[in-house]
Subunit: 238 residues, 6 copies
C-alpha cells in the first residue's frame, strides 16, 4: 500500500498557484503532494551572444534547491562555488523540455529564463519543475502578447513530466521520496500535451529492466501526464 | 506621502508564518509588506572544527536571493561560482545578530544554521531576515528542549532589526525599495528586545549626516523594533 | 544512403585494442569507425570516505575530450576551470552503467576508476566509452584475481551501449557525427549482455516521437548491442 | 592604563609618508602606531563598463593583508582562490568612504583605484586605510590637475576614520590589537573633515550597548578624527 | 648500466607518427621509448585580443596528462578545477620554444595552438612535447601554404629539446622515469636545428652542480638534439 | 651606457633591512636599486600532511606583487581568483632554491614559509626575492636556535641569485626593467655561496644564444652573486 492510500498509477494531489511572486512575468508555485517548486519565468528582450542576428528566440532554465528543502540540510551551491552534476543535468533537461514546445522562430529575438527553485523536496522535483515551468512560461508569453511585443503565443502546447518506477513487484506513478529511494528502476518521462515523447530517461538502480516492464512504465506515465496536463489547463483558465 | 499612506515612523504590515516548510527544525516565512524571506533553522549535533572540544555551541547563517525575487532578474550566485560581497556581508551580519542573543555555553556542542532565502525583495531584506530568523531559531531551540537534548532554551531574548533612512527632509522607518533607492542615508539597526543595540550600520549614500539626524534615526528605529518584537512574540504564542 | 553504405541497423566497424597503455590495470582503445576513446581502468585499494567500513567496493568513471578530438578545437576543461554539464552528465552515466554489472559486495573495499578520454570524436563517444570501459574493467578485475586480491571476478557480465536515432524517415543505429547532428531524436541505450536495459535516454531534438517509434528504436538498439557484446567477448579472448 | 600610557581618547602617533613608492600617482604609507598600510592610488583614463558614456568618474578601492602582517601567518587570499567576506566588506567600505568626498561629475570619465595593502597589522587597519587613502587620492588628483587633465581637484574635503570601542568600563579611541580583541563593542566611524558622518558601523561583540554609550563613542570618535584630519593636512603641506 | 643497455649519451628510440588524428591541421604522436605524447596543432584565423590589428600572428601551446598516463593515477586537472603550477610552467615553455622558430610577422593575423597531451609518461614529457609539436606545427603551416592562406611557411627551422642529468657519477642524455627520479641534477635544453640555445633550465635536486658539469651536460644535450632533429626531418619527408 | 653609469658586470646598490616588520620570525626588506621586495619568514611547528612522521622539515615560499608595484596597475591575483602561471613558476623557484641550502633532516618536523611580496618592481624581482629570503630564513632559524627548539642552524650556507642578459652586443648583470624588457636573452642564475649552481634558467626572447655567450653570461653571474653574498653576510653581521 502506498502512502496516503494512493493507487499504483495515481499521481499526488497537484496544486498550481499562479502569480505567486509579484515581479516575474510568469510565477507559479507548483505542488505535487509535499514537493513544492517555485517556477519564475523572466522575459528579456535579447538573446545569448551566439544566437544574435538570427531572428530567433531562446528558452533556458535554471534549477536550485534551498539548502533545507530536504530532510537533512544540503550545502548551498553558491557557497561551495559550483553547481553540482545533478543540478546541471536537471536544468539542461528542463530547458530542452520547454524548448520542445516553443516555436523559437516565432518568438523573435527574445529570451525566456525559467528559474525552478525547490522550496520543499519530497521526490519528483525535476518533473514538477517541468510541469510548473510550462505554466509559468505560458504566462510570460501571454504578457508579451498583451503588451503587443508578440502577435501570438509561440507555444505549440503544454509540456508535462512525471516520474515512474519499479518498486519490488509494483510499477508506480509519481514516486515520492520514500518510494524513490527504494525503487529498482526510476524513469522520468516528458511528453507534449498530445501524448508524444520529448524525453525518456530510465535508469536501473538495482536490477536491469525488461522491454515489457518498460512498456508498463510508459503506460503508467502516459496516464499520469494526461492528469497533469488537465491541471495545467485548469490553472491557466482561472 | 509614503506608498500606502504610511506614516514616517510606521513599519509595514508584518506577517510571520511558522512551520512554512516541513523538514527544518524552525521554518518561518516572514513578510514585511512585499518583502518575503523564508528563514529555515537547521540543528546539527556537532560544531565547526575550530570549536570542537570546548563544550560550546555555534550559530551561523546563510543568505541568498532567488534570481527573480527582484524587479529584474539577478544572476544566480551558484552559477556565477561565488557569493558576492553584499551576500557575504549580510550573512555575517545575520549570524552575529543571532549569536548576540544566545548563550553559546548553554547550547553545548550543537550548531544552528539559519538559511534566509529571499522569495520577494522590496527593500529591507537583511533586517527582515534577522527578525524572522530569530523566530525560526526559537522554534529550533524549542525542538531541542522538547526532545530532551537541551534542558533550557539558551536564547536570552529576541533580536529584531529595521532599516531607517533620510529621504529628502524626512526620516523614515522600514524603507521599501522605491524609498531605499532614493534615500540619502540608509541605516540598519539591530536591537535586543529590551532596546539595547547589537549593530548600527549607517551609510550616507548622498550627503553626510549630522549627529542630530543620527539621533532621530535611532529614535525612529527603536519604535519600529518595538513593534517587530511584538509581532515576534505574537507569532510564537500561536 | 548512409556514409560508407552502412545499413540503417548496422553498427560501424569496431576495434578494441587491449593493453594500449602500459601502466593501467586495464587499458583499451575502443574504436567505432572514426570515434576513438582510450579507456584506462585504475585499481585502488581503498574506497571513498562515505563508503569506508561497509566492506563494499565502488566503481566510478571520468570522461574527457582532448581539445582537438573534434572538428574545431574545444576549450580545454582544465583551463576553463570546470567540467561542463555535458561532461558531468556523461561520466555519471558511464559510472552507473559499469556499477550495474558489478557485485560491489564481492569486490571488498576496493575502487575502480575508469578514465574515458576521447582521442577522436565522430559521434557516439559516450556509448563507445561504456562499451570499451566494460572491457578495461574486466581486465582490471582479472589483474586482481591473478594477484590473489580477489577470489573471483565480481562482474556479472558485460555492459554495452549504442546510440540510435530518427533521421527524417529512417531509424538508424550507431549514428556518426553528421547523422547525429541532423537527427530529430537521439537515444542512448545501455544494456547488459543478456539484453536487459540499464539506461534508456531518449531526447527529441526536433519533433516529439511516438510510442511506435520508440519501439523500433529499441529493436534496433538491441541488435546493435548484441554485435558490440560479441566484439567485447572476442577482444577478451585474444 | 592603555599601552604606552595612552589616554582613553587619544589616538596613536600617526605618520604619513607620501611618495612611498615610485610609480603610483599617489602613494602613502600610513602608520597608526604599529599598524602600517601602504595606500597606492592609480589613475586610469576610463571608467567601468556600466558607467561609460555618462560623463562621470568613479573611485574604487581594494584591500589586502600581507600573509605575515599579522601575529600568526594568514593564508594568502590569491592562493586560497578568493577574497574572504571580511576583505570584501572592508574594501567596499573604503571605496564608499572615498566616493563620499569626491564630486564624481567633476572628475569626467576617469577612474581612481586605491589599493590598501596592510604591511603590519596592530588593529584599526580599515580606518587607517581610509585615512591614508584620502591623502593618496588627493595626490593622484593633484597629478591630474598639474598635467592639465583636470581643471580643479574634485575632492570636497578629506575623509578620515577611526575605531572606537568599549573595553570594560572604558570608552577608548583608536584601539590597537590587544584592546580590539578584548572589547565588548567595536565601532568604526568615518567622517568628513567638517565633522559630518559618512559611515557608522558599531557591533556589540559581547554585551549590547546603550544609546548613552553610543553617544560617548561618537564624541570620542569626533575628537580622534579631528586629529587625523590635522595629520592629513600636515602631510599634504610638506 | 642504463635500462635497455643505452649508452650515457644515447637517446631512446624515437617514433613520430604524423596524421595520428583526423581533424587537426597537424597531428603527431611522438614516442621517446615509452613516453608517448599526442601533439595536435590547430589553426585559427584570428589572434588573441591584445594582438589584434598589429598584422602579426601568435603561437601558443597547452599541455595535459591523461590521468593514468603515469604509474599511479593522477587527479584530472579538469576535475580539480585548475591547472597546477607544473602544467602551467610546461605549457609556457613549449609555447616560447615554438615561437622562437616562427617569424610571427610573416604569419599574418593567424594563431596556432598546439595541444600536447601525454598518453604515457616515462620521463621527458616536456621535451618530447616540444620536439613533436615542432613537427605538428610544420604540418599546420604546410596546410596553410597549400590552401593559399600563406605564401611561405614562416618557420625558420626546427626546434627540438632533450633532458639531460647527473645521476651519481654519470651524465646521461634523455632520462627515463627511473633515472629522472633518482638524478641529482635535471636539465632541459631547447635548441634550434642549427645548434643555438632557446632555453636552458637546469635544477639541482640534490647537490649543486659545477661549471664543468654544466659544460658536459650541454655537450651531451647538443648531441642528443642533433639526433632528434634528424628524426624530425625524416618524419616530414615521409 | 647603462642607467646611472653602471658597468656591464656591476650589480645595483643593494640594501637589506632586517626586522622590517615586527611579527615574522625573519623579516627583510631587500632592495636592488628601485626593486624592493619584503621577505617575511614564518616558522610553524608542523609539516605538510604528506611529510608527517618522517622526522624531516620543509621550506616553502610564496610570491606576490602589490597591484601597483609596477608601472601600470596589475590586477590583484586574490581578486582574479587564482595565481597566474608566472607567479606559480617564481614561487616554486624560490622554494627550491631555499631548500637547496637547508639540511631538512636536521630541521626536524618544522616548516618555514617565506613570503616574498614585491613592493616596487624594477626588474629582477625573483632573484631579489631569493637573495633576501635567504637572509630572512637565516634569521628565522636563529630564532629557533635561540629559543632552544633547534640545536644548530641547519643552513649549509647562503643562496643568492641574479639575472643576467644579452642586450644588443652587451652582456649585462642585474638587469633593471628597461634593460630586461629590451633584452634578447634573459637568464636567472641561482648559486650557493661557494659558487656552485642550484638553478640556471636562460631564455632567448629574441635571437637564440650560443655556447660562448652562455659562458660569458655565467661568468658575469658568478661575479654578481659573489657581491650579493657579501651583502647578505654584512646584513647578518649588523
Amino acid at each position: 500500500m502506498r502512502p496516503n492510500d494512493r493507487l499504483a498509477d495515481q499521481i499526488r494531489p497537484i496544486k498550481m498557484t499562479r502569480h505567486y511572486t509579484a515581479y516575474a512575468e510568469g510565477s507559479v508555485l507548483v505542488e505535487f503532494g509535499n514537493t513544492k517548486v517555485l517556477c519564475n519565468a523572466t522575459v528579456e528582450e535579447n538573446v545569448p551572444r551566439w544566437l544574435k542576428g538570427q531572428g530567433k528566440g531562446w528558452v533556458t532554465a535554471e534549477y536550485g534547491m534551498l539548502p533545507r528543502s530536504t530532510h537533512s540540510r544540503m550545502r548551498r551551491e553558491a557557497s561551495s562555488g559550483k553547481q553540482g552534476g545533478r543540478t546541471l543535468e536537471i536544468q539542461r533537461l528542463i530547458a530542452r523540455s520547454l524548448r520542445a514546445v516553443v516555436d523559437l522562430e516565432a518568438m523573435g529575438e527574445m529570451m525566456i529564463t525559467v528559474d525552478c527553485d525547490v522550496i520543499q523536496a519530497d521526490g519528483g522535483t525535476r518533473t514538477a519543475s517541468i510541469s510548473g515551468a510550462s505554466v509559468a512560461m505560458a504566462d510570460a508569453f501571454e504578457t508579451l502578447v498583451k503588451s503587443g511585443k508578440l502577435k501570438h503565443n509561440p507555444m505549440k502546447g503544454h509540456v508535462a513530466a512525471v516520474s515512474v518506477g519499479i518498486l519490488g513487484q509494483d510499477i508506480l506513478c509519481d514516486l515520492e521520496y520514500v518510494e524513490d529511494s527504494a525503487a529498482d528502476t526510476d524513469m522520468n518521462v516528458v511528453m507534449t500535451e498530445d501524448g508524444r515523447m520529448i524525453e525518456v530517461q530510465g535508469t536501473a538502480e538495482g536490477e536491469p529492466f525488461s522491454r515489457q516492464e518498460l512498456n508498463v512504465l510508459l503506460d503508467v506515465a502516459e496516464k499520469g501526464i494526461a492528469d497533469i496536463v488537465k491541471a495545467q489547463k485548469l490553472a491557466l483558465e482561472n
